[in-house]
């Protein structure tokens, strides 16, 4: 093994969180910073000719190479887990920018009570209302504490939208249910395509409060506080699973990389696959000493460092801690150990597929352009009459109507799936089909967790991460209820026929739901029940910080990235203002 000269900071993973931390440390300190990214380099020009559905959407050009590394899945602890042999229910990224390159850029904030779901729910409904096997926890940080950091994230990305609550003042047209914001969105809402606009009308007439989806597919040219300028979105429609060819969609490579490249103290090493974090840990104290990675030529390298950030997304954050023997692995039988617990996956599905009389011109739109409503989110409606807790958002986004993926969906009344009758219907409905999506909260449960698989290995021979994950009655009943509501909306929109969601049964690894998987290295108020403190600092190794959605104790309904970025900003402040002066526990 080759040992390199020590550096001040190593960041594992070059996606949204890793590069945001690199930018902050590069701009605000003189520390030497090395980002280790397993995938290759990327830049906006690479996306000049990526508008090919087959290679990018169907064959997953930008995602993690599953032949090298995947995860295994089982529905409960009694089963033998099987490897996910091809991409399915979520899509991990790889390469500089991570999943932040091919994301959809839907950017809502979490509702304030999401950070305190346990205490708020118990207060209102009593602890008996919680599912017996729940593992819900408060985060240890509140919305009010995070608000300034959310605002920084909004400004960084130039998020387009309409505020519904500025410092407590409700504003019609925005999301009147959202937590307070200190300012209006940096850019106005995106244009609203036809399908989304008829959803808005229908929602209003049913008494809901629809609003434009907060979008980092920016509505007009924008220059952020770092001086980075991006053009406005052209609604080309090649958004999710693609990089943006003009840099209108905020991505780490167009928003963070240009700033990082100005700082000589930060470098990014691609092809650097981190295998272990080296540490000398006793029971409760110790420190990380550096990382071992395999470089692009397969050579093992030891990179010593004073301060380490783990930023390799939810699953690999958890896996690298497990592989490195950092912290105590969670045991669902005894509920001891905190590493790997509280695995959640946003409850996301097309609640209804609606077939219309008129063409929708759905090739035009962006990953985030559209309309959503939050009337049925969180605890915004009284749950005492419902057989489930919490909720989520219904939305009509105008994104992703590419023909290989979408042509072939036909109303239930068409019985065939191939041949002339099906073809006729498929051609007719291709551009007359719209989906109302639901994205909802997933509560944490004692038996949904991650550990190392005893059988299956990655291409280095290291154990794969094993997910033990299934839905419970709370999610199933919530899904049924939301499907009914979406059906009402679709009918109000004038749909001729509607195919409802078939319901949540067992966790289906073949249906893409969202890439919003969280937990494993959760934050909290004590080392017994969490892996990191509310500054994302590891409880045992005070020079190790774990960034990203691995820190979420449970899932909120909204998409995670603004919250992930806000938490990363908050950690960066704590490092620069406090930790560097006194490298010790921050909480």
């Amino acid at each position: 093994m080759k040992t390199l000269p020590s550096v001040d900071v190593v960041i594992i993973g070059g996606g949204w969180t890793g590069l945001l931390m690199a930018k902050e440390l590069g701009s605000r300190t003189a520390l030497s910073v090395v980002v280790l990214e397993r995938g290759g380099p990327r830049k906006t020009d690479d996306y000049g000719d990526d508008m090919d559905e087959l290679d990018y959407t169907i064959r997953f050009r930008m995602m993690q190479d599953v032949s090298q590394e995947t995860v295994t899945l089982r529905h409960d602890s009694s089963q033998r887990a099987l490897p996910l042999r091809q991409h399915g229910s979520f899509l991990p990224g790889s390469g500089v920018g991570g999943a932040g390159e091919h994301w959809s850029a839907v950017c809502p904030r979490f509702l304030p009570d999401c950070f305190e779901v346990l205490s708020r729910t118990t207060e209102k409904y009593g602890s008996k209302r919680l599912p017996e096997d729940h593992a819900i926890q408060d985060w240890g940080v509140t919305y009010d504490e995070l608000e300034p950091h959310y605002t920084r994230a909004d400004l960084l990305l130039g998020i387009s939208g309409k505020a519904g609550n500025i410092r407590g003042q409700q504003i019609e047209g925005g999301n009147i249910f959202e937590g307070w914001r200190s300012a209006e969105y940096p850019t106005p809402p995106t244009k609203i395509p036809y399908f989304s606009s008829i959803f808005a009308e229908a929602a209003k007439s049913l008494g809901y409060h629809p609003y434009p989806v907060p979008a980092a597919t920016t509505s007009r040219a924008y220059t952020n506080p770092d001086g980075i300028s991006r053009p406005g979105c052209t609604y080309c429609g090649y958004c999710e699973t693609f990089g943006c060819m003009i840099g209108a969609k905020s991505q780490p490579t167009n928003t963070l990389l240009p700033v990082i490249q100005k700082h000589k103290n930060v470098s990014i090493r691609t092809g650097a696959w981190v295998r272990r974090i080296v540490h000398d840990a006793s029971e409760n104290k110790g420190s990380a000493r550096g990382v071992i990675y395999s470089d692009a030529n397969g050579q093992e390298v030891f990179q010593p460092a004073e301060l380490i950030f783990l930023a390799s997304w939810t699953l690999n954050n958890t896996r690298l801690l497990l592989l490195s023997g950092i912290g105590k692995a969670y045991d669902p039988a005894t509920r001891k150990g905190s590493l790997g617990r509280n695995l959640t996956h946003q409850v996301a599905f097309s609640a209804v597929t609606a077939f219309f009389e008129k063409p929708l011109n759905r090739f035009m739109g962006s990953g985030a352009s559209g309309i959503m409503l939050s009337d049925l989110d969180g605890d915004l409606f009284d749950h005492s009459k419902h057989p489930f807790l919490r909720g989520g958002a219904l939305s009509a986004r105008s994104a992703r109507s590419l023909p290989i993926s979408e042509c072939g969906a036909v109303p239930k009344s068409v019985k065939s799936t191939w041949g002339s009758e099906w073809k006729k219907a498929a051609l007719h409905y291709y551009d007359r089909t719209g989906r109302i999506g639901f994205s909802g909260e997933h509560l944490a449960y004692q038996d949904n967790y991650m550990d190392l698989d005893p059988v299956y290995k990655d291409h280095f021979g290291d154990p794969l991460l094993r997910l033990t994950l299934d839905w419970r009655e709370n999610e199933r009943k919530m899904a049924d209820y939301m499907t009914t509501k979406a059906m009402e909306l679709a009918r109000e929109m004038g749909a001729k026929e509607v195919n409802p969601f078939s319901g949540l049964r067992s966790y289906d690894a073949t249906r893409y739901q969202s890439s919003h998987v969280q937990g494993g290295a959760i934050m909290g108020s004590s080392p017994e029940s969490s892996v990191v403190n509310p500054y994302l600092q590891h409880w045992q190794l005070s020079n190790l910080f774990v960034l990203g959605a691995s820190s979420f104790p449970q899932n909120a309904s909204a998409n995670p990235t603004p919250t992930i970025l806000a938490l990363t900003y908050r950690t960066a402040d704590a490092i620069v203002d406090r930790y560097l002066k006194n490298p010790a526990a921050l909480a």
Binding site: R85, Q86, W418, D508
Partner: protein, 221 residues
């Protein structure tokens, strides 16, 4: 080395027809010729290619609603995909042990690659191209629930609607059928207009739009 295999198609069946659909109305624009084209095959034998072409055109037929798999060159598309990294399972996790009877929610768990699934599946379609249409449909109905058929169906849709650089969707015949314009750099001026009416810009392929020689995934590695 295996003998070079070719698929011979008449020009009339591939690209001799140009069809524009302004919201599903089909116009035949160009005259047909009698010339034939010999396309070198990368994976299939000639007879396999004929079986696949025939089966794909029952899945996505050429009929009164417009052209189908035959005109789009679906068999050529599938041949290239199978010969490329996807056909060899370059992107799938293929470490054992394999669990044959896994529930559907775990996705395909088998060992066979797409190449092997096709080769095996096509053994059951011997002489398929010479059957009558109804007989072909009956044969396909018998294999409807097999993995081979679901791959064939999925690949047929891909071959209908992929960018033409992949060998299918010749002359953008599939895109014209459904009114999809292909990659357009900007819809800025139109995205919030044309409400309730079909807006159908003339299709253009990725290479036409970008003027770059884009390399399709099947030609990599």
């Amino acid at each position: 080395m295996r003998r070079r295999e070719f698929l011979t198609l008449s020009a009339a069946s591939i690209g001799g027809v140009l069809v524009y659909s302004l919201d599903r109305e089909v116009f035949r624009l160009s005259a047909q010729t009698n010339q034939s084209v010999r396309i070198p095959l990368r994976f299939f034998t000639q007879s396999e290619a004929l079986f696949v072409a025939a089966a794909a055109s029952r899945i996505f037929p050429s009929d009164e609603t417009g052209p189908g798999a035959r005109e789009a060159g679906v068999a050529v598309y599938i041949d290239r995909q199978l010969a490329g990294p996807w056909g060899r399972d370059r992107y799938r996790y293929t470490e054992g042990p394999f669990e044959g009877n896994a529930p559907a929610e775990f996705g395909y768990q088998g060992k066979a690659t797409p190449q092997q699934i096709y080769r095996q599946g096509l053994k059951g379609l011997k002489g398929f191209d010479r059957l009558k249409a109804e007989e072909q449909d009956d044969t396909l109905k018998q294999i409807e629930t097999t993995l081979f058929f679901s791959l064939l169906r999925q690949n047929t849709i891909e071959g209908m609607f992929c960018d033409p650089m992949h060998g299918g969707n010749i002359d953008m015949v599939g895109w014209q059928l459904i009114g999809f314009p292909g990659p357009r750099m900007s819809n800025y001026d139109d995205v919030d207009k044309h409400f309730g009416e079909a807006f159908r810009p003339k299709p253009a392929s990725l290479r036409q739009v970008t003027r770059r020689k884009v390399r399709p995934g099947e030609d990599l590695e």
